[in-house]
Symmetry: C2
Subunit: 85 residues, 2 copies
Amino acid sequence: MSRYRVAVQVVPRRGLLDPQGKAVADALHTLGFGGVAAVHVGRHLVLDVDAADEATARRLTREMCERLLANPVTEDFEIAEVASS
Amino acid sequence: MSRYRVAVQVVPRRGLLDPQGKAVADALHTLGFGGVAAVHVGRHLVLDVDAADEATARRLTREMCERLLANPVTEDFEIAEVASS
């Protein structure tokens, strides 16, 4: 049993409204950052997972994303990194 | 002027309380994912920035993080990627 540090990114599905991103973009424009064309806001999760091997840690994380961490209707997730820790 | 896609991760500073991460870890335990030792929840931002070159896009993004995107007291940010788009 080893401990793995897994980084996951959960982002609003492309094409769906992203009101939080729009609000951040508007605030940046107000602050004078006129070169910002668009902002998308998602979640960055870092999980410390105990698993037999890296493949198991990855599979467990995928299950967690499907069952809790990401909204399957509006969000996509990506397992960005699995590192032994 | 080119458009750059910049990915930024904003995470709670290590050592500070992360109540959202604690709540997610507890929920995962309740769902049967006992192997999850800890969860940290941060934000994943993707910005489309118009800038003269990549270094400028990176500098602008750093300024945006310092002025709006990250809380300087409780959060750290990392510019994960700058890609021409």
